[in-house]
């Protein structure tokens, strides 16, 4: 979708893109295993640990990552987001090299809900044959209540996912911004003025990403296995 007057700028670095699509795949798998039950439940637990690892990694990457991964790149004041939302429905495109002000809040909300979902899962039980690895630390009543939150929060997550997909499609068809493609290629096409105002793109080492991801996995493994 090359339009005149637009320049290609790096937006999502490789770790962000891998994070995003792994999360999409895991979200589908978790939805399937969680609603199927039975022998899919042990897999639901492993999937939950993987989601927790991804979220933990993404939060760290939000401070040290490259491209437009950092929170400081895309978290703007609620007032700014509100101002932005007023022109959301104009056909005029509203390019951003990273997340736009509303999208930034969507990312924060997603990460928060995913963290709640994974964390409550650790303490949940299904009253059949499965319980989270930390359920034994709390009473059955508390675990039951946390399980209710796990189920309620899923509804919020599904609503947020629907909103996210709808917003991306809206940008694609109404505002002619192909965000889906950018999440694969890492490159966005924005007006020169926007690119200039955004400044140079950071690069963060992929080795650093790999090490941080491994560290996140190690932390989750410690939480789950409770070796001490």
């Amino acid at each position: 979708m090359k339009t005149t007057g637009l320049v290609a700028v790096p937006s999502w670095d490789l770790p962000v893109r891998i994070f995003h699509w792994l999360l999409v795949a895991l979200f589908g798998a978790q939805l399937y295993s969680g609603t199927t039950g039975g022998n899919a439940m042990p897999w639901h637990l492993y999937g939950g640990y993987a989601v927790l690892t991804l979220v933990l990694f993404r939060v760290i990457w939000g401070f040290v990552g490259g491209g437009r991964a950092r929170f400081s790149d895309f978290v703007s004041s609620p007032a700014n987001a509100l101002r932005y939302s007023k022109r959301l429905f104009s056909r005029q495109s509203s390019h951003a090299v990273g997340h736009n002000p509303l999208g930034g809040w969507m990312v924060l909300a997603s990460l928060a809900l995913l963290a709640v979902q994974a964390a409550t899962g650790l303490f949940a039980n299904d009253d059949i044959a499965t319980e989270g690895p930390l359920a034994a630390l709390v009473s059955k009543e508390v675990s039951d209540r946390i399980t209710s939150i796990h189920k309620l929060n899923l509804k919020l997550l599904l609503a947020l996912v629907a909103l996210h997909v709808a917003a991306v499609l809206y940008h694609r068809w109404a505002k002619k911004e192909d965000l889906i493609r950018a999440m694969f290629t890492g490159v966005k096409h924005v007006p020169e003025a926007v690119a200039a105002a955004a400044g140079a793109t950071r690069h963060a080492s992929y080795w650093l990403a790999a090490i941080l991801f491994a560290a996140a996995a190690a932390v989750v493994s410690l939480i789950v296995n409770r070796p001490f």
């Binding site: 039975g38 299904d126 044959a129 209710s148």
Partner: protein, 154 residues
């Protein structure tokens, strides 16, 4: 007395006997019915629990315990259901949804399905094939879940 008449009498007798059994549950105190059906469920959980832990590899597999527990559950899973009388609708100490009493057929199909799946588990456990036990256990878990999803409050 001709054959037709004695058959009719026998049929009436059987219907009376069956309704006496059902009435016994219907006339019991609602609080007692809830207590009793929960007791049956609790025992099902007690005996199915270790089977789950074994097929999931959390504790060492013991075929004798799996066979014994599965056969216990195969009997226990007959017990809770006549405790779900409409009279228990307003009892506080239960997670059973009142929808049960408006959807008696669906509820029944749920517990019949559970009994079917537990029957398969008990048969597999007797056979001793660990993979068959594991597959059957998954079916039991799904049957539990299907009914809980529809008829149990959070």
């Amino acid at each position: 007395m001709n054959i037709k008449r004695s058959l009719t009498l026998a049929a009436v007798g059987m219907i009376l006997a069956a309704s006496v059994a059902a009435d016994a549950a219907a006339q019991a105190k609602p609080e007692d019915l809830v207590k009793q059906r929960r007791a049956a469920m609790t025992l099902m959980a007690k005996y199915i629990g270790p089977v789950g832990a074994m097929v999931q590899g959390k504790i060492p597999y013991d075929a004798a315990i799996v066979a014994r527990n599965s056969s216990f559950v195969d009997t226990l899973d007959k017990m809770p259901w006549d405790g779900f009388q409409p009279s228990t609708r307003d009892v506080k100490d239960t997670k059973a949804k009142p929808e049960i009493y408006g959807n008696a057929d669906k509820f029944k199909s749920r517990w019949e399905h559970l009994q079917e799946e537990v029957g398969k588990l008990a048969a597999a456990a007797k056979g001793g094939d660990q993979n068959a036990v594991k597959a059957a256990f998954g079916g039991v878990g799904k049957a539990c879940k299907a009914c809980h999803d529809d008829f149990r409050r959070e």
